[in-house]
Assembly symmetry: C2
Homo-oligomer: 493 residues x 2
Amino acid sequence: MAKELKDLTKRSENYSQWYNELVVKADLAEQSAVRGCMVIKPYGYAIWEKMQRQLDDMFKETGHVNAYFPLLIPKSFLSREAEHVEGFAKECAVVTHYRLKNAADGSGVVVDPAAKLEEELIIRPTSETIIWNTYKNWVQSYRDLPILCNQWANVFRWEMRTRLFLRTAEFLWQEGHTAHATREEAEEEALKMLHVYGEFAEKYMAVPVVKGVKSANERFAGALNTYTIEAMMQDGKALQSGTSHFLGQNFAKAFDVQFVNKENKMEYVWATSWGVSTRLIGALIMSHSDDNGLVLPPHLAPIQVVIVPIYKNQEQLDLIDAKIAGIVANLKALGVSVKYDNSDNKRPGFKFADYELKGVPVRLVMGGRDLESNTMEVMRRDTLEKETVSCDGIEAYVKNLLEEIQENIYQKALKHREEKTITVDTYEEFKEKIEEGGFIMAHWDGTPETEEKIKEETKATIRCIPLEGDKTPGVCMVTGKPSACRVVFARSY
Amino acid sequence: MAKELKDLTKRSENYSQWYNELVVKADLAEQSAVRGCMVIKPYGYAIWEKMQRQLDDMFKETGHVNAYFPLLIPKSFLSREAEHVEGFAKECAVVTHYRLKNAADGSGVVVDPAAKLEEELIIRPTSETIIWNTYKNWVQSYRDLPILCNQWANVFRWEMRTRLFLRTAEFLWQEGHTAHATREEAEEEALKMLHVYGEFAEKYMAVPVVKGVKSANERFAGALNTYTIEAMMQDGKALQSGTSHFLGQNFAKAFDVQFVNKENKMEYVWATSWGVSTRLIGALIMSHSDDNGLVLPPHLAPIQVVIVPIYKNQEQLDLIDAKIAGIVANLKALGVSVKYDNSDNKRPGFKFADYELKGVPVRLVMGGRDLESNTMEVMRRDTLEKETVSCDGIEAYVKNLLEEIQENIYQKALKHREEKTITVDTYEEFKEKIEEGGFIMAHWDGTPETEEKIKEETKATIRCIPLEGDKTPGVCMVTGKPSACRVVFARSY
């Protein structure tokens, strides 16, 4: 293990390899025996649980409830919405049989051909179709609206090139699916949830995001509008971190979900859907971590504070244990998640490196001299700075330090994004600058053709048309046609 | 809706139909478009969330961590453990392809024959195989043990006859999978989790359970010992509510998971697995509910207290609203989940019936006279008793009442089980008494053959060999051979 720590590739050498190694070495996740599917290990899952708990609270505060819909979807449901099937058909895992039987030659089990399904079922790549087929029975009148459901679930998209957390065949996510009586209310809901995602990213993940709307090319299959939060990773690439879709009446029409409105007329229901996934863990890692390992934001760190004793003999350890017990209890009372690691099978140096790798925000160390002087050494993971602090009131000190670290890593990420965001007016300059990474603010004529040309020639896509910021019109850098405002270009994950 | 409430079949008329109707009318769950798969509606899911939160806390208190393993399992993994594949092969959903394509005739999408998997994947019916294949890489030495992982997940077993919550093709559950260095430690773990389940059932669900060990016939496929908690429903049938398995070294051998023990010798790892599922919601309903609808234990009720105003005009409602606001705030401060329903689109009588149907443990009503006299009418759902209580200190009164209801429904269920548990010594009497339902304590010679004969002739199975209680030996009621102790027979769900 100590060897592994040293072996972590540096970001400057190979950012992509650094990420892949870090996910495994920090015990977050690993590849499974099933192609493209990951095992989320306990430490990685603990981060997901913290994210879930916080997001779930935010969804409930905004009036949503959880429900659960089937994993499997009849194949024919997909075809009901033309763009939706176009978007997902090529990556569907298909269930065709419902039984195995013993092989005639005794070699194991084989698929029982007699147990073939009349209609194949697909593992949900997303649940709009099965949910709108269900909502049909829930909605008769405007009094039954809105429906504000969220689902925590696994979904499956057969991806050919996968990376842990960032792109996996199976992933965990939440998908909100809401039904409304009016277009305005549905549009408002889609934007509301975008802002919930934005707040979560910035306040909890400490990841600054640009909120905006996707161009037609990048829209969710079946949506009229897709809103997105886009984050910039340390290598300057963009990571789409959450999306919220205004679906119009597309799914209501596909599944014939009508209601009697206040004017006593039949109308199709208006819809939104919105989701974030375990991809957020990838965003978290790539935003803050360094060549020593993870740097976790205190608001989402499974262990916020680790305490390590350094001792000569059992007698001294007993004294330190006694002293630390009170501090641990006080920290817990302040709501701080703390681990006291006095295990005797690893040396302090090993523990230090391991907790650095794991991104624990604050490390406290107490040695023999500290015991005498009633002090501890405090190290913060974000800057690796150490200082000696009195044990009196150290709990409040640590609590404040956690907030300071949270704010510091956010500001650091924000500064990085600002430095790597530039404005460009000519396509020549664009092609040059895009090689350096980062976000490029440029004018675009609003057509899919121009966007496609830029993507082919530079591998950059329009990440979003920002909701906020400069709205000065201009001319497209490629075609010279009018442009309503600058949009965000970047290469992306 | 009001009509629906009245239409609930009475338990005495048709217990099975009563259950099916209640699940749907109380908005807990419904059938989906996919055969055997249910939609868990928000009210039903809210109960599951309460169960999850409590169980998860109990698992963590006993040292467990959560992780996540793949949904899909290579078909060949199943064959590695002979009994395991025998137990599950006949109910596996099989994924054979990974892509759809447009039908040549434009009629929709069809399975793309070019996207056939080399090896089929099955949707996990349980995860022992994929998890032990993963543990192989996690364990080298006794220092890597124990591994104490739990997973919250969906699983799939292609059942031919399904019932909402009790038996569905897809269900939600948790599955603990632990790995140990010694046989003793694994056996202790299996028993420890049985007791956690027992405590959860009794303290939170208010469902008394018999803890015991399964006979060989009823053992989990691949286990050396299966422990179970068995509850008695109101119709006298047994419901297996949770199981904990001592798996010996079976899966370690199947997946070659060895470790270097303290004596520096290679040894196979010892295993347990344990799980409870959304079936618990079925157990909850069938244990306590009545002809008016659900009766939920306060410890798991999504809404513990509902407050309904009765008013003549807006002015009076404003006064009641103002009065209730303080009571709601005080109840919340006491940790009580409370809903104030002053919606004006339903009459009080409708609301009363609806909240009775939904099993809300306590209902408070404030009318004009109550306002004057500073009182409220308090109704408890378990007994339907009403009384008038002063608003001064009503919060503490309600909080105590919730605990009283929790205890009362537990005692009621316990009394019912005791009344319906009888001792029988002859097979003649057994055959007569089993028709009346309930648990029958009888002697059995310990052989699968005798158990099978009893099952064929009476539809009763051995629910468990109890861990506690009378251990007096006797003779088998069927064969007259020696019996170590009485075992629990019942018909079951």
